[in-house]
Symmetry: C2
Subunit: 325 residues, 2 copies
């Protein structure tokens, strides 16, 4: 069943209902939606739904609303971050221009709400609760992006602030994906909360793993340049913890490389990677990731699922967790 | 009753439910919403509702969703148009920056949906129909803005294209404001269509009157600089019709001023204004405006309202129509 989710979503994306004219408004949406990706959020929504009900096909359009929303945030974030590439292709604002990326993104957000609006089997109260949760999460994702931008110009960021930023920017939407599946299946509030917690923890572990792989990833498997965060002095979990932990000579070395003007990139990446390892940051980050993943798996137990469903969910999440790219 | 609408809306705006943090995300929303304005759209929504039902207070938050949406479009349009001022004050992207205006606008659109979500007295089907109409209109407003931007770089625009652009960019939202009042009051589809038509015609007349006042407005009453469109070679209804109508010497004069490098502004405005008058464009535009307003008033008759309601609506719309600013 799980293997049917992605093809069903891709088929729905292929026939995505959008306006035709002006082309500049709608072409970027089709372009970005068809760049691919693992569609983790709507797959998790369908998976979550199917833990409780079998007829998952009827909620495919509603699940797609999360993927459209997610891609809307990518379109606008890429403008703000001046990112040239997305999934190895030109970003929308590069291929067209900033104004088109702003406006096309706006229509995309509206389109996400129209897909959400295709859900027809809930009561008014349940549906409005779903929208309220969607809206709150959407606002939180924007809050996370604003925090992320604010952090760039700040000299120090605490671990707690960093975790809160990635929670808002990434994890709440993965939480909502799981929760939405539950709400659509009519689960009670307690179960909806557990589903949300599973997604949120997976999201947090996921984002920290991104930080870790950027330093320790296998260059043959990792999609991006290993050491990219180090070269950009990006305030990742690893750098923040290193700055909090390092003392004496180690701190001097770290600050030297952070301040270095036009350093040799290979040397800088090697030196800071070594520092992270020596300071125990690698181990600590792995432990933190595992802690979030463990919390997710413990939450699954509280759902009291039937064995087959529990195994399906556990297996899928384990696959996400074990990724090396 | 009508005079209670605006204070009720302003009170609702004062206590607008938004997040707190990060400040850069929410302060611009409060700033823009409190710059004032006539709140024509939500007032029309409440007026339309009150034609059929007395308890208009309960739909104030829902009506406000249109005002929030409208201000969201202003925030993003001002970035695209590089506008320095809005209602005489700094625009959001000027006061903060482009990124904040993008992201704050995004949250604002989400907030509009949350206000829409406060409507609780419809059935699921009626509510989803309302959202579908809201979504379609929201997409159309973006289509209109994209057309407007496209027109800037085109050498010619036809009258039909121009009317379609202003219909999408301005009129459909005024149409929706009226229609939403009707849907919230539970009117049938036929009446909802008539309400929409009234708003759409008022919006079209309104926008053409803007074009006219920019040339022939009383400088003492008109808020903006009279002749601003002429100096910017803006493809307004008047310029498009002048280019279609002028021949021989008149066309040469028009093209001379359009191509003039750094012309004397007073002379350019005077010359083109004189041309518009001589070509009969002023009269023609006034006739076109009256045609739309007449269509709106004829549509009112089809609503079969009680006398008091019909008079209230007629009086309010006449006030809008007669404005000189």
């Amino acid at each position: 069943m799980i293997q049917e989710f992605l093809p069903a979503l891709e088929a729905e994306i292929k026939q995505q209902s959008l306006g035709d004219s002006p082309q500049e408004l709608y072409d970027p949406i089709r372009y970005l939606m068809q760049l691919g990706g693992k569609r983790i959020r709507p797959v998790l929504c369908l998976l979550s739904y199917s833990l409780f009900k079998a007829d998952w096909k009827k909620v495919v359009p509603t699940a797609l609303s999360i993927e459209i929303f997610h891609n809307f945030t990518l379109m606008h974030d890429d403008i703000m971050d001046k990112a040239p590439l997305r999934r190895g292709k030109q970003t929308v604002h590069e291929k067209w221009n900033d104004n088109i990326a702003i406006l096309s993104g706006d229509v995309m957000l509206v389109n996400a709400y129209q897909y959400l609006n295709q859900c027809q089997h809930l009561s008014l109260g349940e549906y409005q609760h779903l929208i309220t949760r969607f809206n709150r999460t959407a606002a939180e994702v924007c809050e996370g992006q604003q925090m992320d931008m604010n952090f760039e110009s700040r000299s120090t960021v605490t671990v707690d602030e960093y975790i809160e930023m990635i929670r808002l920017k990434t994890s709440v939407l993965i939480g909502l994906s799981m929760e939405m599946g539950g709400i659509l299946a009519g689960v009670d509030t307690a179960k909806a909360k557990i589903l949300y917690e599973i997604g949120e923890c997976i999201g947090l572990g996921f984002q920290l793993k991104d930080d870790l792989l950027d330093v320790y990833g296998d260059p043959e498997k990792f999609g991006k340049q290993v050491g990219g965060d180090i070269l950009a002095n990006k305030k990742t979990y690893l750098l923040i913890r290193a700055l909090e932990t390092a003392q004496g000579e180690a701190l001097d070395t770290l600050n030297h490389w952070l301040a270095a003007n036009n350093p040799n990139p290979v040397e800088k990446v090697a030196a800071i990677t070594q520092l992270y390892t020596d300071l125990g940051i690698r181990n600590e980050t792995e432990a933190k990731i595992n802690q979030y993943f463990d919390q997710a798996f413990q939450a699954i137990d509280q759902l009291n699922l039937q064995t087959a469903q529990q195994e399906a969910l556990g297996k899928f999440l384990a696959g996400l967790v074990d990724r090396e790219v």
